[in-house]
């Protein structure tokens, strides 16, 4: 690790002041950042520990949740309101990493974790535009079984690794930010970027800007929801494909639906076109497959990951079929 200073922020104002120093970086649980420091992929001059800021999880009168960014992944997954009213969020969180890591990781930090693309990590042996802009990408012609099939670019085919974020994308979460120019809110689906020609930028956050809270708006049918993760081993592995979904069915007709995909793109992938293809139609496996095909029409496989397209299609259909048959959220 390169040398850095360490300080704890007691207040948001404290954090912003220290976060404005050149080379400063906010530190949550450290489960990704400490590893990146050790690999010298991150070389901050100063770490500002923001875990003493709000970790409150508040269920508000309008049914929404307001979650302090310092809440741990475990605290959010085990919160009674999340388990009963937003099961897709609870199950997405416990699908990620291991219990030890979820006990450390904060909600804010989870959103800002970097890709696990092995070429991004291999500074000595591989080119990577995300790590070293302009260098080239060895994943595009390399071992790219884990890589993106949607929204990738010539510059980068990395995927976003978070499970929690896939549920937040489906739930239209809103990020609360504080920065040099005051407070602002941002739709969660606008937080992460597609790589385009600037893959070094994961998000649209400005320098020194701090995520203070995440708002999850009420959704009338969010209790009928689930998250399914498909991976190479049954636990403690990153997603090949994952699906977060909530559905409202009345008299066999899809009244409303929310779907997001993980493991397929540079950001949690909200399936807007799939949702539009479902609303007002007769629920059933044929419809679910057809709607998934609409979403995946633009999917572009690399050498090793064409299977993800069929896997995403089938996982979408399986999750929606299961939710249609049974309002409970079975794993």
């Amino acid at each position: 690790m390169n040398p850095f200073t360490y300080a704890r922020a007691a207040t948001v104002a404290d954090a912003l002041r220290m976060g404005a120093q050149p080379g400063a970086k906010y530190l949550g649980g450290g489960t990704n950042l400490v590893d990146l420091l050790r690999e010298t992929l991150e070389r901050p001059a100063a770490l500002v520990d923001v875990t003493q800021l709000s970790n409150a999880i508040e269920e508000r009168p309008d049914g929404s949740l307001l979650i302090g960014a310092a809440a741990t992944n475990t605290a959010l997954a085990e919160h009674q309101a999340v388990r009963s009213r937003f099961p897709l969020l609870s199950r997405a969180i416990v699908a990620g990493a291991s219990a030890q890591i979820r006990n450390m990781a904060t909600v804010g930090g989870n959103m800002l974790q970097r890709t696990r693309c092995s070429y991004f990590y291999d500074e000595d042996g591989a080119r990577c535009n995300k790590r070293s802009p302009g260098q080239g990408c060895d994943a595009i012609d390399g071992f790219n079984r884990m890589h993106a099939v949607l929204g990738a670019s010539e510059a980068c085919v990395a995927t976003h690794p978070s499970d929690m974020c896939v549920a937040l994308a489906a739930l239209d979460a809103v990020i609360h930010l504080q920065g040099a120019n005051g407070a602002r809110t941002l739709p969660f689906n606008d937080l992460h970027r597609l790589p385009e020609d600037r893959p070094e930028l994961d998000t649209v956050l400005e320098a020194g800007e701090l995520i203070t809270a995440i708002e999850v708006p009420a959704l009338a049918f969010s209790a009928r929801s689930n998250y399914r993760k498909v991976r190479d081993r049954s636990s403690y592995a990153f997603a090949l494909v994952s699906v977060a979904a909530a559905i409202d069915i009345e008299d066999g007709i899809v009244r409303d639906v929310r779907v997001a995909l993980g493991g397929v793109a540079h950001k949690p992938w909200r399936a807007w076109r799939l949702e539009a293809a479902l609303r007002g139609r007769q629920a059933g496996e044929a419809l679910f497959h057809a709607a998934a095909d609409v979403e995946l029409a633009d999917a572009r496989p690399l050498r090793d990951n064409a299977f993800k397209i069929g896997l995403a299609r089938n996982t979408v259909a399986a999750v929606l079929s299961s939710l249609s048959a049974n309002p409970g959220a079975q794993p």
Binding site: P3, F4, D35
Partner: protein, 169 residues
């Protein structure tokens, strides 16, 4: 006033260098070599310790982040005689080479507290339910952050089941 950390009941100064991980503090500076440096990147669980009762990975923790907190490593569990879960690991062959064992045992103690608290897992069918049935599948899923390359998994689960049963009596 130097910053301090509580480790196995003793209040100790934190290192001046914020780059020192909690694992390196334990192993290299305090000669508490129970927690193991398997992968040093959060993939194996061999460095698991308890902080204020919660299991964490000490390799992904900077020691300074845990100022004022209470850390228990495997060395802090035995009190004159082995902790009952340590004894259960021996009785059920929950180890062969023993390298992952300190992490497995600390992890299992944290896991038991999570189960009592009702923390769900990926395989919990009813997420909203008050009680979680501690099935074999639940225990395997909840312990999946601790790898055992000898493959003593069945013995590890048997030791945990035995320990939980004795605790419940």
């Amino acid at each position: 006033m130097p910053m301090t950390i509580h480790i196995n009941g003793s209040e100790l100064p934190l290192p001046d260098d914020p780059r020192v991980s909690l694992l390196d503090l334990l192993r290299d500076r305090l000669q508490l070599s129970g927690a193991k440096k398997g992968c040093n990147q959060g993939a194996c669980g061999a460095c698991t310790v308890l902080v204020d009762g919660q299991r964490i990975l000490s390799c992904l923790a900077l020691a300074v982040q845990y100022e004022g907190r209470s850390v228990i490593s495997i060395e802090g569990l035995a009190d004159g005689e082995l902790h009952p879960l340590q004894q259960a690991f021996i009785e059920h062959d929950g180890l062969q080479c023993g390298y992952c064992t300190p992490g497995q045992i600390c992890s299992a103690i944290g896991m038991e507290a999570e189960l009592r608290r009702g923390v769900p897992s990926y395989v919990t069918e009813d997420l909203a339910g008050a009680a979680i049935a501690p099935t074999h599948e639940e225990l395997r899923e909840r312990m999946s952050g601790n790898l055992c390359r000898c493959g003593a998994y069945n013995g590890i689960v048997a030791a945990i089941v035995d320990h939980r049963g004795k605790e419940a009596q």
